[in-house]
């Protein structure tokens, strides 16, 4: 390779890194091409290795600190558990894929799959039985341990309780005697009152002591031994696997689409025979009808699709689509209105109060408003042409576009519109006066002016606004989905919170990373777009 081509490659790479906003990689590239190795190595250390080390340090700190914070829902998950949550969710997705494939298999492939699944099932069932046996043993052992730990505490509690009860009885009989004495005008009232006060304080203290032992007792009961927990998890994992394999068998055998079609066709054939032999008009009619019905059933069954359960990756796809719809709506409103505002001070003055009032409104409020408003447009969502149109599209069809998606998208749009609008207005109004004067001198028409001068020179700011909008939109969307239970990452988080199982906490943190990483990627895409329309070489804000 010639010198110049290497140079070209190097600067090409550097430019790409610069435009995409990954400036930290700049020294790596330069180092690779041998430019000032010492300086670049220092930069690599400072800006790349140090941050990575810092992240690793954070993970380590997380690993150490998390288990120390005990919540009612279990310990705070460590990075390892969050990773396990990722694996589990991915497995759930794979299982759906498998079942879907099984549902659609036919012929030889189906038979082969049946044999394979049966074999797996045999292995797993044996394992499951073994695990269950192990679990039972561990359970008994840990139960015995707990009982052993409880016994002395319980004894102490019983003793204390007995002692306290006797003392309380003694005290109350004393009080009764005193009261009798007072009634007989021989005792002092003060003495009685003191005795009662004294009794109350003592009873309180005794109860406190009892409570302490009781708390200790319940602490012993509420901390299941680690070994038991691990055995339970292992046993459950295998049992779930067995259940999945059984379900797969279902989908390969009786639940298989091909098999169902065959069954329907057989029924039709029988009905046809009945039709041929029927003599009375009513019987003919009946048989003919069942033939037609059988044919219809077969045709319909052949088109059936596997009813998928929403998995994490489906939720991600749906959230991305929703945010895309909402963002598009926001941009479609913000850019033209922003340009108008920038061009005309009166328009700006008119819109300022509206913008200022609605900008700070919480997305939750918008969500509720749109939920009511949008619902009214679609009295019968399933047969509405808009949703039928979306349903027929290749990739989007499977996402289940419904009113919930529309109002989530509307919420995203109305929250994301403001930064884009304000920035566009700013971009347009801060166009160099000279450019506008030149346009005036050249007597350019409105459209020429708009497309040759105004839009190009305000684009960097427009994109800066859109970038903020997308960030806001993504953030709002998760909240909107959680609240409205519209499928998407927000619903995933909310469902996990509601499930309250021992995996839920880890799943929520896992979702937190998924949301963060996707948000990060979206942001990078917007930076890329912003940088590619900028004239100046201004640094991308990271």
């Amino acid at each position: 390779m010639s010198e110049s081509r290497i140079e070209k490659l190097k600067y090409g790479l550097l430019k790409a890194i610069d435009v995409s906003g990954f400036r930290v990689l700049d020294p790596v590239v330069r180092l690779f091409f041998g430019e000032e190795p010492k300086k670049q190595a220092a930069d690599v250390f400072k800006y790349l290795i140090t941050p990575i080390a810092f992240v690793v340090l954070c993970l380590a700190a997380w690993t150490v600190i998390a288990p120390r914070h005990k919540t009612r829902s279990g310990e705070v998950p460590t990075p390892r558990e969050v990773w396990a949550a990722f694996v589990v969710n991915d497995t759930l997705n794979d299982r759906e894929d498998e079942k879907e494939a099984d549902f659609q298999l036919s012929g030889e492939a189906r038979m082969a799959a049946i044999a394979r699944v049966r074999e797996q099932l045999r292995v797993k069932e044996a394992e499951s039985i073994q695990r269950k046996a192990e679990l039972a043993v561990i359970k008994d052992r840990s139960e015995a341990e707990i009982q052993a730990a409880l016994a002395p505490l319980q004894q102490a509690y019983d003793e204390l309780k007995a002692k306290n009860t006797t003392e309380q009885d003694v005290r109350s009989s004393t009080i009764r005697q005193l009261a009798a004495a007072v009634a007989a005008r021989i005792g002092s009232t003060d003495q009685l009152l003191t005795a009662i006060r004294d009794d109350n304080t003592k009873t309180e203290a005794e109860r406190e002591a009892e409570k302490q032992i009781k708390d200790a007792l319940s602490d012993v009961r509420s901390v299941p031994p680690k070994a038991l927990k691990a055995a339970q998890l292992a046993s459950n994992a295998v049992a779930n696997e067995v259940q999945h394999l059984n379900k797969r068998l279902d989908y390969l055998e009786s639940g298989n689409r091909d098999q169902k079609v065959v069954a329907a066709e057989q029924k039709t054939a029988v009905a046809r025979q009945t039709l041929d032999t029927a003599t009375t008009p009513a019987a003919v009619l009946a048989a003919a009808k069942s033939v037609v019905r059988g044919e219809e059933t077969a045709a319909r069954t052949a088109e059936q699709s596997y009813p998928r359960t929403a998995t994490i990756w489906f939720q991600v796809r749906r959230s991305l689509f929703t945010v895309f719809v909402g963002f598009t709506m926001a941009a479609a409103i913000a850019i033209p209105v922003g340009i108008l505002c920038g061009l005309n001070k009166v328009v700006m003055a008119c819109l300022t109060p509206i913008i200022s009032i609605f900008k700070p409104v919480s997305p939750v409020v918008w969500l509720l408003i749109f939920q009511i408003v949008v619902g009214a447009f679609f009295p019968d969502p399933e047969s509405h042409p808009l949703f039928q149109f979306f349903g027929s599209l290749p990739l989007i069809g499977g996402l289940g576009v419904n009113p919930a998606l529309i109002f989530s998208a509307c919420t995203v749009a109305v929250c994301a519109v403001w930064p884009a609008l304000v920035n566009t207005a700013l971009g347009v109004s801060s166009i160099d006066r000279d450019h506008m004067n030149v346009a005036r001198v050249l007597r350019l028409g409105l459209w020429t002016r708009l497309f040759r001068i105004i839009i190009p020179s305000s684009l960097p700011l427009v994109f800066a606004g859109l970038r903020i909008s997308l960030g806001v939109g993504w953030m709002v969307l998760i909240a909107a989905e959680a609240l409205s239970s519209s499928d998407g990452l927000g619903k995933f988080v909310w469902d996990e919170y509601q499930n309250g199982s021992s995996h839920s906490f880890a799943n929520i943190i896992f979702a937190c990373f998924v949301v963060g990483i996707i948000g990060f990627i979206l942001d990078r895409i917007m930076i890329l777009m912003q940088r590619s329309v900028s004239f100046d070489d201004g640094a991308a804000v990271v």
């Binding site: 009612r72 829902s73 759930l92 309780k161 109860r207 409570k211 319940s218 009961r221 509420s222 339970q232 459950n236 049992a239 779930n240 259940q243 379900k247 279902d250 009786s254 639940g255 169902k260 009375t280 008009p281 009513a282 009619l285 009946a286 009808k289 069942s290 019905r293 059933t297 319909r300 069954t301 059936q304 699709s305 009813p307 359960t309 929403a310 619902g375 679609f378 009295p379 019968d380 969502p381 399933e382 419904n402 009113p403 919930a404 609240l483 409205s484 239970s485 909310w494 469902d495 996990e496 919170y497 509601q498 499930n499 309250g500 199982s501 021992s502 995996h503 839920s504 799943n507």
Partner: protein
């Protein structure tokens, strides 16, 4: 199909040209002219019979001979349901006669002549709330009972009862796991108004009342008999009363949670409190939160959030379905003091609800769904020879999937397999804690509906006094046993259920019972008398 078309086609069929009476009947709007109850029974019977034979005929598969109008067995079964039959025909607006399976088909002798179901819709969406009593729906989906009926069903978790109901009303969902009170309240217009019906009761019992550890400690101090690892049950709210009084004198009201204003839980916790003389508050036309005169304030929290709300201290106790009571024990944040089995033995809990409009549009699909649910209920309650529930473990495994209830398998299993943890130290056998099929429980009993109506009146959700007939009529509007019986008959014909599984010839009223925590007798035939037998709550003049 319009009435005219039906008549036209009817007259083309050989041997029926002369049956003008059927044709006339179809145009003669009986229900619009005289209240159904005034029509002589004989006429009602024959009307129902004619209507059914008409429809059987139209669906093309009935035998050409019409059996005589009043055979003994047909009469007994048809009688209670007959008014609905006439109503459903006379009400049909604009001519579209719903080809509903009519009550007359409840005649078991014609079982093998039932026309096969032509599904109007085969891809359905059902909603549910994350509670173990959604089990029949989940089981029907996962065990392939829906698929056996040719239905592809999606089962979708809903965030709360209100949204679930709204989604059913807007058509986003085809049907849902509902609180028994929901179809009734929606039909009479308390809350969102919509005519919702039910043809299947999902389960009995299954709820518990949990109080926070602090309240439990005080209850133990108030009643020293509770101070053992296994206190005697049922625990009444009497030991809670001093706590409530103390709070009141400090100017506070004890806060407790329930899941929905018309939920079983709301009525149960109110019943439990009121049985011990604690006033749980009345609903009035202005006070829709139900706080009027309240000594304990009950607020709405969605079931899955109950433990978290209790833990955060916003409420001191709650009444909720499983697994959220067992969850409180497992997390050590509260103590279940009583279950609704102790408040009312074998009380109805959840139903499968659809809108009337949906049921009219998809009568056959509805039957197919109920068929699958009956099989699922039966599967859930299947026992071996020793009376052990055999399928519950598998059901728990299904429910613990994250897209269904999603709680830990072991927690769900606690109550579902016939045990209940009241405290970590107090595990009791409760074989009937979750009943899905036994005791003919999945049949939609009118008497269940009437109990909920009396409670709505008792606590002021129904703002004015109503006559006893109104209770019976409303229950009949919501509960649709004909659909259940039709589905059951088909299952019986296929050999999938036993004759004894279904109360074929009931009038829809369970016998009177006094299995309540306070021992007051409930006889659904006399709703007003029952209403007036409670110390706390609205009372109505008996003869109005």
């Amino acid at each position: 199909m319009t009435k005219v078309e039906i008549r036209h086609r009817l007259c083309q069929v050989e041997g029926y040209e002369h049956r003008r009476d059927i044709c006339v009947l179809m145009d003669f709007d009986l229900g619009a002219i005289v209240p159904v109850s005034f029509i002589p029974l004989g006429l009602r019977l024959s009307a129902a019979f004619h209507a059914s034979s008409t429809l059987l005929l139209i669906s093309g598969c009935s035998s050409p001979e019409i059996p005589p109008a009043s055979t003994g067995s047909a009469e007994t079964v048809v009688a209670p349901a007959a008014p609905d039959a006439t109503a459903s025909i006379s009400e049909s607006p604009g001519g579209d006669v719903p080809s509903t399976p009519t009550p007359a088909t409840a005649d078991r002798d014609t079982a093998d002549e039932l026309p096969p179901l032509e599904l109007e819709k085969d891809e359905l969406k059902f909603g549910f709330i994350k509670l173990t009593d959604c089990a029949p729906i989940v089981v029907a989906r996962e065990k392939g009972f829906f698929e056996d009926e040719g239905l592809q069903v999606e089962v979708i978790a809903q965030p709360n009862w209100k949204q679930l109901l709204d989604n059913v009303i807007t058509g986003e969902l085809d049907g849902a796991h509902m609180l028994s009170g929901q179809p009734i309240a929606a039909t009479i217009g308390f809350g969102t108004k919509a005519h919702i019906i039910t043809a299947y009761t999902l389960d009995l019992n299954g709820n518990g009342i949990t109080v926070s550890n602090a309240i439990w400690d005080q209850m133990v101090i108030n009643d020293s008999t509770l101070d053992t690892p296994t206190p005697k049950h049922p625990i009444p709210a009497t030991s809670l009363k001093p706590i409530v009084a103390e709070k009141l004198s400090a100017g506070e009201k004890l806060q407790m949670g329930m899941v929905f204003p018309v939920s079983t839980h709301n009525y149960e916790i109110r019943y439990w409190l009121a049985a011990a003389g604690i006033h749980p508050g009345m609903y009035t036309s202005e006070d829709i939160r139900g706080f009027t005169e309240a000594q304990v304030e009950l607020s709405v929290t969605p079931p899955p959030q109950m433990p978290a709300t209790l833990e955060s201290g916003n409420i001191s106790g709650y009444c909720v379905g499983e697994p959220w009571n067992q969850q409180a024990v497992a997390k050590g944040i509260g103590v279940p003091v009583t279950t609704n089995y102790d408040i009312w033995k074998n009380n109805p809990e959840k139903v499968f609800g659809v809108t009337k409009a949906w049921a009219d549009e998809n009568p056959n699909t509805h039957i197919a769904v109920v068929k699958a649910l009956i099989r699922a209920g039966r599967w859930l309650d299947e026992t071996d020879d020793d009376g052990n529930l055999v399928n519950r473990d598998e059901a728990c495994r299904l429910l613990s999937q994250p897209n269904y209830v999603g709680a830990d398998f072991d927690i769900i299993r606690n109550s579902m397999t016939g045990y209940f943890y009241f405290q970590k130290s107090d595990k009791r056998e409760m074989p009937d804690f979750n009943v899905f099929f036994k005791y003919h429980c999945s049949y939609p009993w009118y008497s269940d509906g009437i109990w909920f109506l009396t409670q709505m009146r008792r606590w002021g959700q129904i703002t004015e006094a109503r006559p006893a007939e109104w209770y019976h009529e409303t229950a009949k509007k919501v509960y649709q046993p004909e659909i259940y019986l039709n589905a059951a008959k088909r299952l019986l014909a296929d050999g999938l259920i036993d004759e004894a599984d279904v109360p074929w010839s009931t009038d829809g009223y369970k016998p009177a019972t006094s299995d309540f925590i306070d021992g007051i007798e409930y006889d659904a035939h006399e709703p007003i008398r029952y209403l007036n037998s409670h110390a706390i709550g609205n009372k109505d003049p008996e003869d109005s």
